[in-house]
Symmetry: none
Subunit: 214 residues, 4 copies
DNA sequence: AGCTAATCGAGACGGTACGTCACGTCTTAAT
DNA sequence: ATTAAGACGTGACGTACCGTCTCGATTAGCT
């Protein structure tokens, strides 16, 4: 099931000691860090498709063999680089209003995804279209946890009675974030704070003309 | 603006009379048709990235040079192939209820986009992430007109008083189709008729617990 | 035996009337002349390998089909162009001394072969190495007659008692012109009037130290 | 000056010790040898023009990229193949008579140049006509040394008083070998032992009717 | 004067080889 | 054992020129 040849980035965090160290030279942390940093740096200038494994290795001052020893391919290096550059867990807004929380969160997400840094998101989704395993990995390692974090907004909203309890949260969340992803990937419309607000507002109020307001 | 070296597919359809034919041998319809057919066929088996220009040419019984003479790259060939295979303009449902129309339409779109044929959509969006010009072209030649067609549902709904008149239709449409695209590209949740219905319903009613129903 | 599809250039000169003209549009002299002129012109700037059939046709304002209708390939066009630009039969020197005649002739030949015009000679020999039929044709249409002309110098020399009668003229002629061709094609040594004189002198006197002059 | 991207063939032979080996994987001797062997083999069947880089690579079981990494084009591969297949330095005859030595040498050279193996010589001269740098390289790497070797015959002849000391050896050598090259490349006359003998004899005695023999 | 052939310009076409690029693997000597 | 360096096989790329072909327009001799 594991695609990555190892737990990659995470491998270095775990195993604080315990097991017997293998003989010979130990895996270099510096080396791995250099690769991830180089990848991040290069991806700010070019898209994933145009960043070559050679370029990463060269920029990191690392041999290509080292790179391929720890990652099965370039995409997974980029994914790790992306993940490692996002460590400081983003905290979810908590203003007391789910509407406001979602608006703030969406604005924040948009700002990130449209930044050079966050534009990697689009590349990953794109790569995923021709590499299902990579798409799965991307979902499991990044999206899932992000969505889980955001779901707390939803749940708080439900608890507070702001959000309909009968609505499948998955559908609710897609309703809020789907349109943003759509615009992000297809580029058919603007994507900024104003739109974030309008989108969340529309998702909340709904499209339908309510009988009362008629 | 034009990326394609010519009007390609469309060039052959238009102007049945009018302008004087150029002097030399005419562009072969058979040749172009063969290329588009071969491309469509190959794309049913493999994803766009894995279909090579050579394979298209060979399967079409056409020389690679001919292919590159009329299209700058295989993505645009695929786009033309996609467009040509969708000629019969899909008609938009018109049941008298916007909610039902959107549900039917979304179901239909989902069925298409998850078919071998329609999965090209995902590939195009993916390619577009590393080729902005292609993304623009894809939007202009395909998405734009599709969205325009669907917008009639919206406008009928507004006229009938089913849909809020104060809501930007662009936002409304993204609300309905964005979540589907999100799921289509990221694959984090199911995508079938039931979900189509739930999505449209949620978009219509909104996420918010209405005071009256409280 | 004929390689060319027709008698080419010569076809237009011959048959002043006689046979019944075929029906339809007649072959255009202007057209052929333009092709030959364009070829000659282009070959002054580039070597035969680098002059394309398209370039010839375009420069001549002629269609490629016309070109290939009358010549089987580019090399034979060039050969005809070469021959047609040399019509005015070069006259062989006749000073009364074979030594002097050969020297003058060799100087003249060297001047021609090292001119832009005459450098086609080298190209023909080169092409001939990978196309034996072309080499044969080149020999038959050009070299043979040139050598025959020059042979009169030899024969006059023999008659006058200047040249050994027991020597095969073919060997004698090769002795005089071979070294020049060698230098022309390989470029390992200078090729000018001085060398022409020295070469002919050496060929005449021989390499051997004569007993008498010892 | 250097055309080849490296010292190629020679690089592997030289410097058995001295400089420290570079760090990485070493250039594969087997790989290079396979390329040269394949080239030699193919050139026995087809002429240089008709031997493709792909064919060489495939037959050598080597990738085209590797081939192009070490040689800028197939001509230089062929040249290296030619040179490597001639290593055992041919020894120059030394019978005590320059006339006989030159005759033997010329016979030997003719036999070689008319063999499948040696016919590459013609191809090289031919290619050189459209690629001056290649011609220079061919002269420098092959012809020069061959001529230098043969010149010892000349010098011994001069010392022994068989050959005129006042004659420029370059002219003398061209006189002996030029006619052979002429015939080799143009094919207007036979090229065998008998002619070798006749040619050398004529070059030695000269064309001129000597007064004494009159 | 119209008919019928052949030629002509334009340029599309199939084919073949080119030389380049990136991928991911493998080899070597050094650490 | 891991590293840097970098050679290697694979396979697709997009380009160039070849020689053939298909058009419609032109230009004659023949009816």
């Amino acid at each position: 099931m594991a695609i990555a040849k190892n737990a990659s980035r995470l491998a270095l965090e775990s195993q604080p000691s315990a097991e017997t160290k293998p003989r010979g030279r130990q895996r270099s942390h510096a080396c791995e860090a250099a690769i991830l940093a180089a990848t991040t740096e290069l991806l700010k200038k070019k898209c994933l498709r145009d960043v070559t494994a050679d370029a990463i290795a060269q920029r990191a001052g690392v041999s290509k063999a080292t790179l391929y020893k720890w990652w099965p391919n370039k995409n997974l290096v980029a994914l790790d680089a992306f993940l490692s550059s996002m460590r400081l867990s983003v905290d979810i807004p908590n203003t007391g209003s789910a509407l406001e929380d979602f608006t703030l969160e969406l604005e924040s997400v948009i700002r990130f995804y449209t930044s050079p840094q966050g534009s990697m998101f689009r590349q990953f989704v794109a790569e995923g279209q021709s590499d299902p395993e990579f798409l799965t990995l991307f979902r499991d390692r990044f999206l899932r946890s992000r969505l889980d974090e955001v779901r707390t907004i939803w749940e708080r909203g439900v608890k507070r009675g702001e959000i309909r309890a009968d609505l499948d949260p998955e559908i609710g969340m897609d309703l809020i974030f789907g349109p943003m992803i759509f615009r992000l990937l297809v580029g058919h419309a603007e994507l900024d704070d104003a739109h974030a607000e309008a989108l969340v507002a529309a998702a909340f109020r709904g499209v339908q003309k309510t009988p009362s307001s008629a």
